[in-house]
């Protein structure tokens, strides 16, 4: 019997591990996002973070509900497929795959930027080839680590996440106590308020600081008792990240630098002015801020670049983990070829997926680094993309992928509330309107509508303001759809419609595998009651 059973992902992630997994991904985002948002949104950076943060809270609530109800490795892709069918499930999954592979490259890139604060030879603008080579080595190393297994990296993430929460809190404490000036905040917001176009750019980049909740859903399949654990870890994660993002952006706009800053002509500068038109600084915003915090900055200037680099490396690792797991889930759902669900017999990890998407991350790295490595490429990028390159190239695509997949997730949440009221929901988004649909009592999630409007507007901002996001993002989706059509035709599966799914058995199996036996009983009881009343056939 045991020889016939396919190897599956093991459940090795504890509650703290689940939080740490999400935190190491989302928590690291502020390390990348702060500099980028300050560069574009300038005096309105805190407003950009607040807008993106509100949307993020709504996304977080949606993911919490869905991941606790359907604790499977597919995350957003599974929810969309369950709610809207195979085709839209594929598009959402394909967009998430783009995000995770960008995640690998972007965070490895930023990791080296943080290290460059201590090791000048890593500065991208001056030693482009060294920077490129180090990022490449990091991606290859993470690939190997992930092929080896899950538990090892989870333990590592947990300890670094704990140190980072403490460190970020200390930086904020010292910054607000000794360097923050409310009058300077007001002055900066009035004098450096950006144009509407730049503000839209800033908001679309600010969403980068909040991407990563997908990781918790991804880890749901490997979390013990996910329906109970996921709501707790997600709520803590949402609040922690939002507080840090708002804290850092307000501090950056309203702080007096501990050491006076001067531009090339010797004129005094405000802290936020370090970032516009400076790609090197944009990649290490938190390290620069920490060094300018009075007293604690003496220590922070040395350890924050290292801590940031480690956290970013872990986040990059989350990208490798996420992309491989989502490809695994998509393959099991017959949205991608079966080779992606091959689990390594010894390590029980999806080795083929890991290798494939790390290779894709390397291709993205080449595209991002090319203008810095070759003057001819710089000229081409200047003509086609208004000179966007490096970290902004990656940031554009990251924002596009996140906004696309999150938009679908909100629609899927609404659809699932209407189509599947039988699944027990241990956590529900607040503000629901009870109603009857085809004889069934359902609850319409009002907040999900607001969330969809918010994330759709961020997607629109990305398409309007980012030259690369506008071209490469839709091109990625078009390429994916082409591959999907070819694969489904070859396998004689419906292309635009969904294949037959027995969602009832699937859901019962998901809950049983998750160890949520009480929820499974409740689900089966709901189904029996509905059948006795002659409702809900075929859902």
């Amino acid at each position: 019997m045991s020889q016939q059973r396919k190897p599956e992902l093991r459940r090795a992630v504890t509650p703290w591990g689940s939080f740490a997994w999400g935190y190491s991904d989302v928590g690291a985002d502020i390390f990348v996002g702060l500099g980028l948002v300050l560069a574009y949104a300038a005096g309105a950076s805190n407003v950009a973070f607040l807008f993106a943060g509100i949307v993020y809270v709504l996304i977080g609530l949606a993911y919490t509900e869905l991941a606790a109800t359907y604790p499977v490795a597919g995350g957003g892709q599974f929810f969309v497929m369950r709610g809207l069918g195979d085709f839209f499930g594929f598009i959402a999954g394909w967009a998430v795959l783009l995000d995770f592979t960008i995640d690998v490259t972007l965070f490895a890139w930023s990791c080296v930027d943080y290290l460059s604060q201590l090791i000048p030879v890593f500065v991208s603008s001056q030693h482009a080839w060294v920077h490129f080579a180090v990022v490449l080595i990091l991606i290859c190393a993470l690939c190997g680590l992930n092929v080896l297994g899950v538990r090892e990296s989870t333990a590592f993430q947990s300890s670094v996440s704990a140190i980072d929460v403490l460190s970020e809190t200390l930086i904020l404490c010292f910054g607000f106590l000794f360097a923050f000036d409310p009058m300077l905040l007001v002055h900066t917001m009035q004098s450096a308020w950006p144009t509407p176009f730049a503000l839209m750019q800033g908001v679309s980049l600010a969403i980068i600081s909040f991407v990563g909740l997908e990781s918790i859903s991804q880890a749901a399949q490997e979390t013990q008792r996910p329906a109970s654990v996921i709501p707790r870890t997600s709520t803590a994660l949402i609040l922690t990240i939002l507080i840090f993002a708002l804290g850092y952006s307000n501090l950056a706009l309203g702080m007096h630098p501990w050491h006076p800053l001067h531009d090339a002509h010797g004129h005094p500068m405000a802290f936020w002015q370090l970032f516009p038109n400076n790609g090197d600084n944009q990649g290490k915003g938190v390290a620069l801020l920490a060094a300018q915090v009075p007293y604690w900055g003496l220590i922070a200037q040395y350890y924050v670049p290292i801590l940031g680099a480690i956290l970013l490396l872990i986040s990059s690792n989350s990208g490798v983990f996420g992309s491989s797991r989502i490809a695994y889930a998509m393959s099991r759902a017959r949205l991608l070829p079966s080779v992606f669900q091959h689990v390594h017999r010894r390590f029980r990890t999806p080795a083929v997926s890991i290798l494939t998407f790390c290779a894709l991350a390397i291709v993205e790295l080449v595209f991002a680094a090319l203008p810095g490595l070759d003057p001819g490429a710089r000229w081409v990028y200047g003509k086609l993309f208004h000179g966007e390159d490096g970290i902004t190239f990656l940031g554009d695509l990251y924002a596009f992928g996140a906004a696309t997949s999150y938009s679908f997730v909100f629609i899927a949440l609404i659809a699932l509330r209407l189509k599947d009221p039988f699944s027990p929901r241990k956590f529900k988004m607040p503000l629901n309107i009870p109603m009857r649909v085809r004889g069934l009592r359902v609850e319409f999630p009002v907040i999900a509508v607001f969330g969809f409007i918010g994330i759709a507007s961020i997607l629109a901002f990305t398409l309007i303001t980012h030259d690369i996001g506008r071209i490469a993002g839709p091109a990625w989706l078009a390429f994916g759809i082409l591959c999907y059509v070819i694969y489904r035709r070859k396998k004689r599966l419906p292309v635009w419609r969904s294949q037959e799914h027995d969602w009832r058995s699937t859901q019962a199996e998901i809950l049983r595998n998750a160890g949520e036996l009480e929820l499974m009983d409740e689900y089966l009881q709901n189904l029996r009651a509905a059948e006795a009343a002659g409702q809900g056939q075929g859902r």
């Binding site: 805190n46 973070f49 607040l50 904020l172 607000f176 409310p182 905040l185 007001v186 708002l246 307000n250």
Partner: protein
Amino acid sequence: MIPLRLAFYALYVVLGAAIVVRVLAAGLRWEAFTGVVFGVLLAALGVYRMLQFVRRPERLQ
């Protein structure tokens, strides 16, 4: 360990309240809005965790 945790949450409340006061020192202006939200959130997180701890200490294990 228990009093240390409570002290940590109390620190959140104090810090959040201090930030609200500090940001509003520039007067009641719309520019202070995000700072006030930040401070209130921080204090609310501290209160939430303290209440959670007092009511059901096992949830924090």
